[in-house]
């Protein structure tokens, strides 16, 4: 597969990833597949620290030159940190979507929601299926 899908992360159908950190905090971003489809990221509209969001709600808005897409919360929770570096260097999201390109960290309300998400293999299949549908 031409896109990177690291092991150990959780994935949503809408191409976000969630990485478990200490306590009930998860780090959230978009996948390599998503950033590739989006093209060069121009601007990221981040939420405010303290915002409470439900699973599936729009948490950030990502702009490329010709498109605007929503990023959806993989789990319900409270935003505890946002990646301010994206304000200065939005291209970090393209260059390193799983590392410097992380978008925010949230405090999960219910770990169950995380376990309902896809893991590496399932997500890979999901991407393959999406690609086929587009042909």
């Amino acid at each position: 597969m031409k896109w990177n899908v690291p092991n150990g992360l959780f994935y949503t159908e809408t191409h976000e990833w969630a990485k478990e950190e200490n306590g009930s905090v998860v780090e959230v971003g978009i996948t390599d597949y998503a950033q590739d489809k989006l093209g060069g990221v121009v601007f990221v509209e981040l939420p405010e620290e303290g915002d409470v969001l439900s699973k599936g709600e729009s948490i950030a808005v990502i702009e490329s030159v010709k498109a605007v897409v929503d990023t959806y919360a993989p789990v319900t929770g409270k935003v505890v940190e946002v990646n301010r570096e994206l304000e200065d260097r939005p291209e970090a999201l393209n260059e390193a979507p799983y590392e410097e390109g992380w978008i925010l960290k949230m405090e999960m309300e219910n770990r169950q929601e995380l376990e309902e998400l896809m893991e590496q293999e399932q997500y890979r299949e999901h991407v393959i299926k999406q690609e086929e549908e587009e042909q």
Partner: protein
Amino acid sequence: MSRFHYLPLTDEERAEMLNDLGINSVDELFTDIPKTVRFSGEMELPPPLSESEAVNHLAELADRNYHLQENPSFLGAGVYDHFVPAAVKHVLGRSEFYTSYTPYQAEVSQGLLQSIFEYQTMICQLTGMDVANASMYDGATAVAEAAVMSCNVTRRDKVVVSRSVHPAYRQVLQAYFDARDFRLEEIPMKEGTLDGEEIEAQIDDQTAALVVQNPNFLGMLEDYNGLAEMVHGKGALLVAAVDPISLPLVKTPARYGADIVAGEGQSLGNFTSYGGPLLGFFAAREKFARRMPGRISGQTVDTEGRRGFVMTMQTREQHIRRGRATSNICSNQALNALAATVYMASLGPQGMKEVASLCLQKAAYLREKIESLTGYRVVYPGPYFKEFPVMVPGAPEELNQRLLEAGIIGGLDLGRFYPELENSVLFCVTEKRTREEMDKLVHELEGWK
């Protein structure tokens, strides 16, 4: 032979094309219009005119109007009779500019994109702000969109506007707000300027913005000492509508803390045009760039590192963000902005300063002469820029009728908009008014009543 000289297709060509399509008549291309909505017969319109007949007809309509080239005018109130250098017409007349559209294909629109970039720069230079857009419809809608933007940025739904702001701007604000369930409140005037004491009371943590105008509608320069601090202290934005002609002499809105500047740019190289097309200009602080409405031209490079210009931050706009766009604006007043660009480039800093000074000095002259007449009184102490309200000894309508008979277009009847200013007239003096014209006006005023 076609009598419609804008349509190149000859009957021969049409026949060839129909043949290519395998049909016999163009009517076959309209069968998708159901009979129930098909228009039958011919539209009832006057028969087509040839070019010279059209010119005669339009000339006859134009001739029936008293206009500013024939009659010196003392009307201002948002639209002004300023000098327009001949060069403006010659640049605007270049059809590469006026027959083009929005520069979506940047590589063949560098002319327009660069001139917009120059326009944006000069608006910033005049106002002191960081970023300007390529134009809005007019001063009123520019102010209305500034107010809407403030609500979006602060996530609040109330805007406070000074009653000394142009009545039309307040009316347009009201209409835009009525549609959104935003609230508009007015701050009263005191002695012809915004009431400083009232402001503190009315601006609270629900207020998105305070909208002011300087010089205000009555031509008076307002005192904004401490205003921005107070407004910002409540988490609100300061929106200032300004007269670009005044800016070479008057303190810039950037210096008195404005966050957004909007206003009427018609004075910069455009004619009064019976109120349209006008030129709304819009500028803001850097941090608000991505929240601004309207097109913005930005500098970039091509594949070989050559400087060029493109429409930038297009994701704010309707063609990309659609329902979540910063505004629905698509077509703007591009050609009028080009006129402004040519105007500012032609006058330069010295010329613009001279225009401002001439307006200031001449208005002061007229003011002094009118003050010396019995029965006439300049309503408030000022200071004034290029217009001022005068209490007159009778009905302004009658006065203006008399002035018209003397070949002068008199000022605006203020009683129309401010009940407390019944029998007051707003006189405007631009750099185009000569001493003779002003003396003649004073003579007529003296002779009346």
